[in-house]
């Protein structure tokens, strides 16, 4: 105990540095594990790939011109011998989505079911392709139809295959999935489904934006940072290798020179991208929404990076055929391989056992500081017991001094969570801004107003804040933050880690005795909002599209609006987590800084 209190600060610094080094070391190839297929049913069996025939995308195009995509699709699927059903849905967004330019959304999903012969409709696979009027994903829809035609003539299917063409990308998928499972989490209005195929075992989503495909990108990050079973990624990689298709993850090709500095940087960049994408908790493809229903899903996105090497549609068809056939062979749900992992490249992964220590080292700092404070709080109390029996008396105001800031910061959090969406009409009336801007700027305004909190708190409290008061408050806040980050990291490691990296240094070192102006500046610069801003810049840097400060600011605002929308539309939990828990917690430390 003596050692821990005496060497507390050095240990904390060492822990922090060790955590960062450990995390960066995860991308170093000798420390990672090679991916290999764990699922027996998909591993050794060979499938003979014949490939689908020509892609009928002309029809998709011409029907898009006339605007009757769904009727054309119904006919096209029926003529291929599928059981075809449609589903209509509608949703009014809480405020207009400026990125995708939609507010009142109305759409139709078309899906066809290929019934497996002699199967009792208990299991199904889903292949989906988003298709929106303005969207140019008709290549994928064409491929989907070609696959349907080819699959229909085969005898080996053991699971029903559902070919889903969803309108308005994620919203269509959301409506379809909610109807399939008869749930309503997000207040979407939809018509019930007529045909089903039992429990869905796996899903693949196709996005081919261009006619020329040079490489295929695999997207795994789903809603709230959920990931599909690693075997799905292994399956994709295995078939890419077999068919000689260039495959990427996070848009980055794999490199073999891990022992050079460039090789390491490349792997680290790929992993960082994955961490950032996972941390933001949104679904990066249509597959992300399937994961909530315990359906292993991934998106395959065709990329035209203007390389010399081109992949034709038939090869992609063969790749998908292979993947679907292997999934069809599954005797159990995918469960053999990892569900928690980071990928520095497609062939290497970091398992939960390897990356958790990095996070653990950060949280240990909080606990060590809390222990230190506890010891310091206990020491004067012991001294007091000897003299006067005053030990009981100060506890009354102490509880009040601690409770008031806690309650006020949480009320600010609630305001940050509720007000932006609810006050948008009022804001639009009084200021010359659009609804979206109104929501985001209200959020920023409330966030900034929260910084004035310490003065309000002080005014509410009658007495002066005591030395013991801030220590109790800080102890509470430290433990609170440790629990919060711990829970977050268990669900979404990346989010927990990114928050811990920025929040831990300031929270661990904050006292009222530091120079006010400087520490206030540092604290604001390491607050949750600035963390998001840094993430935006780092992300843009990593995808090799650096932005200027003003562009970054605009991106930051759109990220906030997207976060709020993701929460309202798909049930993403990042926005409520930040608004209701992380931000109030940070405010408690802000309060300590201005303790008088």
């Amino acid at each position: 105990r003596g050692l821990l209190t005496r060497l507390n600060t050095p240990i904390c610094i060492v822990c922090y540095l060790a955590a960062i080094v450990w995390f960066m070391g995860l991308a170093f190839e000798p420390f990672t594990l090679r991916t290999d297929m764990s699922e027996n049913a998909m591993g050794s069996t060979m499938v003979l790939l014949r490939g689908a025939s020509a892609v009928p995308r002309q029809g998709v195009r011409s029907s898009q011109k006339t605007g009757a995509v769904s009727t054309w699709l119904v006919k096209a699927m029926q003529s291929r011998g599928l059981e075809v059903f449609t589903q209509s849905f509608s949703r009014k967004l809480p405020f207009p989505d400026e990125n995708k330019e939609r507010y009142m959304v109305r759409g139709t999903n078309v899906y066809g079911i290929l019934r497996a012969p002699r199967a009792p409709r208990t299991e199904a696979l889903v292949i989906s392709a988003p298709c929106s009027p303005g969207d140019s994903n008709n290549q994928a829809v064409g491929l989907l139809l070609a696959l349907a035609q080819y699959f229909r003539n085969q005898v080996y299917w053991a699971k029903d295959i559902i070919f889903l063409v969803n309108e308005h990308d994620l919203m269509g998928t959301q409506a379809w999935l909610e109807a399939y499972h008869h749930t309503n989490i997000t207040g979407m209005e939809y018509s019930p489904l007529q045909g089903r195929g039992g429990s869905i075992q796996a899903a693949l989503s196709l996005e081919l934006s261009s006619d020329v495909i040079t490489s295929l990108d695999l997207i795994l990050d789903g809603l709230n940072g959920q990931l599909p079973n690693l075997d799905l990624a292994n399956l994709f990689y295995a078939f890419c290798q077999k068919l000689g298709v260039l495959c990427t993850i996070q848009g980055k090709l794999q490199r073999n020179d891990w022992d050079t500095a460039e090789g390491y940087t490349h792997a680290a960049q790929t992993m960082m991208l994955m961490v950032l994408k996972q941390a933001c908790g949104r679904s990066w493809g249509d597959h992300g929404l399937f994961l909530r229903y315990h359906i292993e899903a991934a998106s395959v996105r065709g990329i035209n990076s203007f390389r010399h090497y081109k992949t034709d549609a038939a090869t992609i068809g063969r790749l998908l055929e292979g993947m679907v056939r292997k999934l069809n062979n599954l005797l159990e749900r995918l469960h053999q391989s990892y569900f928690f992992y980071l990928l520095p490249s497609l062939s290497r992964f970091v398992s939960i056992g390897c990356y958790m220590p990095a996070f653990g080292l950060l949280v240990v700092i909080l606990l060590l500081r809390a222990l230190d404070l506890w010891v310091h709080l206990g020491a004067p109390a012991l001294a007091a017991v000897e003299g006067v029996t005053e030990a009981q008396q100060p506890s009354g105001p102490a509880v009040l001094t601690v409770l008031t800031p806690v309650v006020i910061s949480h009320l600010t959090g609630v305001a940050l969570y509720l007000l932006p969406v609810h006050l948008q009409e009022m804001a639009v009336e009084h200021f010359p801004v659009s609804e979206t801007e109104a929501v985001v700027l209200t959020a920023v305004a409330i966030y900034t107003t929260g910084l004035a909190l310490p003065h309000n708190t002080q005014r509410l409290l009658s007495g002066e804040g005591t030395e013991q008061g801030w220590k109790v408050l800080k102890l509470t806040a430290l433990l609170y933050l440790a629990v919060l980050l711990g829970c977050t990291a268990l669900i979404n490691f990346s989010l927990g880690f990114v928050l811990a990296v920025t929040l831990v240094p300031i929270t661990a070192s904050m006292t009222p005795h530091m120079p006010k102006a400087l520490s206030a500046l540092v604290m604001v610069l390491l607050s949750p909002a600035f963390t998001i801003l840094y993430c935006v810049f780092i992300y843009q840097e990593l995808i090799e599209a650096p932005v200027s400060v003003s562009e970054g600011w605009m991106l930051f605002l759109s990220v906030i609006s997207q976060g709020i929308l993701d929460h309202a539309l798909y049930g993403s939990l990042v926005y409520p987590l930040l608004a209701l828990f992380i931000y109030p917690c940070w405010l408690m430390f802000w309060n300590i800084l201005f303790w008088s």
Partner: protein
């Protein structure tokens, strides 16, 4: 009163059975075979075989020992008399009957294996008999029927009434069980074929080649045994054994996308003769839509009309007992060329489907949706649901809604499950409004099983058998209540009592439900770890604590010991 009328209907009127079973005088037992071919709306083709053996004897009569068997299979006869079985229905099905595309089947069956048996009311230990019977049948049909035990057996109170003679209503003598996971293959077909008098050597059974039968969309084989009347006066009983086999061939995978079917294309065989032991051997082809939609060759002058499942159909009849049927080539190969353009879904009058709603591994909701597509008639249906005990139903959440209004069932029979002993049984009589969709929902919680109760592949999920919807559906045409001798077999299985309605049983799809599954590699790791800790940690501690320590004399160096040896010999005091 609706329930009683429905039940009364399902159970049969003896006089009708008597009429339908009128036979040539003088024969002790007789055998009939029949094949119905129906081109389906979707372009697929449906072939339904029925083989009927009738035997004028009574196994259950006291003091009479039956030992001489002619056409009736001895293996089944012995089973009937040993276990005092009054009626036995067993079906093995691979695939799901697609009502929306194919319409109603002649004899419906759920995916997997289904067995329901009425025992004679003299049986005292019904459960014991049932247990033994399932084991014996398991041997006869090479199926996993021995997995039927009390945890998946129910006694439906209204849904399954005897189809044969007698009017038993005491459901204590009824046992019903399904095995939705049962896979049907060649090893089940062979023993089934061996029950036929001609085996697969002659008659219609030559078509039953497994390489083609299992290259289809749907395959179902069944055995139905029931007592029927010997004559019109019904003075004595006869036993009827019906073996049915239904198969649907797929347009795309078996027909190469061409709507052109022939016996050879379907079964890779043609017909050359009738079974010599059969009194009648006929092939019926449904030509109701002829000649606009398809053509049939060779043409036959023999036509027959029958009212089946509420619809008047016309059939071309090929009588295999007559030589001219086979023509010059001495073989009959029917050819059907279908010209229509299918693909649109059908709207059968009664249709049902079922699914599990919700997500997560704690709770869920079973939805059963029943459609009444009749434009203006309401009719009652009996819904029977048997749910395994590990889905703990919350019966207070049971709701029945039609047209978004609460629809109160007029009869509910619910038997709650007992953990590890018996399943839930829920039977309801629901009135379906015309042109409506009725949704029955009930919530459940997924039980945590003991680790030995998981199947070897627990991540696959657990099956819940089909629910059964039995109904008297209003008929569009007058049903034929008079049975005559030349009535085709396919239309005489379920006797018709009223002209205005016909009996239909619809099975929903089985469910696959995931239960919370532990990581089974974890116990292994824990066991290894625990054993190591016990062995190393506890073992050495125990050793330390229980051992008595003594100061050990340091052993002398070799030189001294040698010296001592010499000294001992010399008798001089030893060195220390």
């Amino acid at each position: 009163f609706r329930l009683s009328s429905l039940i009364g209907h399902i159970s049969t009127c003896p006089s009708l059975i008597g009429q339908c079973c009128q036979r040539h005088p003088g024969s002790v037992d007789e055998f009939q075979e029949e094949l119905v071919i129906r081109p389906l709306h979707s372009g697929d083709i449906y072939a339904s075989f029925q083989f009927r053996t009738l035997w004028d004897t009574d196994f259950l009569q006291e003091g009479q020992k039956v030992s001489h068997y002619r056409l009736f299979p001895k293996s089944l006869g012995q089973v009937l008399s040993k276990f005092s079985v009054r009626e036995l229905h067993i079906s093995f099905t691979q695939g799901f009957w697609r009502t929306m595309q194919w319409g109603q089947p002649f004899i419906p069956s759920p995916p997997g294996a289904e067995l329901w048996v009425w025992f004679h009311d003299t049986v005292s230990d019904v459960d014991g008999n049932w247990k033994e019977l399932t084991n014996v049948l398991s041997g006869i049909f090479c199926a996993s029927l021995n997995f039927i035990d009390l945890t998946n057996t129910v006694q439906p109170s209204a849904s399954f009434k005897p189809l044969g003679l007698g009017n038993a209503t005491d459901h204590r003598f009824l046992r019903y069980a399904t095995l939705p996971r049962e896979i049907v293959c060649t090893e089940n077909l062979t023993p089934w074929k061996k029950l036929l008098p001609c085996g697969s050597k002659a008659g219609l059974a030559v078509l039953l080649k497994s390489e083609k039968l299992f290259h289809s969309s749907f395959h179902s084989q069944a055995v139905h045994i029931r007592p029927v009347c010997q004559d019109e006066q019904c003075t004595s009983k006869a036993w009827e054994l019906r073996q049915t086999l239904n198969v649907v061939f797929d347009l795309y995978t078996a027909g190469q996308g061409k709507k052109e079917w022939s016996l050879f294309k379907m079964f890779s065989r043609t017909l050359t003769e009738a079974c010599p032991l059969a009194t009648s051997s006929k092939v019926y082809v449904d030509i109701t839509d002829n000649p606009e939609l398809f053509e049939l060759s060779p043409a036959t002058p023999l036509l027959s009309q029958a009212v089946v499942l509420g619809d008047r159909r016309t059939y071309s009849v090929f009588d295999l007992t007559r030589a001219e049927t086979f023509g010059q080539l001495r073989s009959l190969n029917l050819l059907l060329r279908w010209k229509g353009d299918g693909g649109e879904m059908l709207r059968p009058l009664l249709h049902a489907e079922r699914y599990v709603a919700g997500f997560g591994l704690q709770t869920g909701e079973i939805h059963t949706v029943i459609y009444n597509n009749h434009p203006y008639r309401a009719f009652p249906v009996l819904l029977m649901d048997s749910v395994p005990w590990y889905l703990q139903l919350y019966i207070h959440t049971l709701t029945v809604t039609s047209k978004s209004r609460d629809n109160k069932p007029s009869y509910i029979h619910y038997q709650p499950a007992k953990d590890r002993h018996r399943p839930h049984l829920l039977e309801m009589l629901i009135q379906l409004p015309p042109h409506s969709m009725t949704e029955v929902t009930v919530q459940f919680e997924r039980a945590l099983l003991k680790w030995t109760e998981y199947t070897p592949d627990p991540n696959h999920g657990f099956y819940v058998g089909s629910s059964v919807v039995s109904a008297l559906v209003p008929s569009m045409v007058a049903m034929n209540t008079n049975f005559t001798q030349d009535q085709p077999l396919f239309s005489s299985f379920v006797p018709v009592k009223e002209e205005s309605s016909y009996f239909v049983r619809v099975y929903t799809e089985p469910l696959l439900v995931n239960l919370p599954t532990p990581d089974f590699s974890m116990p292994y790791n824990v066991i290894c770890l625990t054993c190591t800790v016990v062995a190393v940690g506890y073992g050495s501690f125990y050793n330390l604590l229980t051992r008595t320590f003594q100061v050990d004399e340091p052993s002398l160096p070799l030189a001294k010991r040698l010296a001592n040896l010499i000294r001992r010999i010399r008798g001089v005091p030893l060195l220390t």
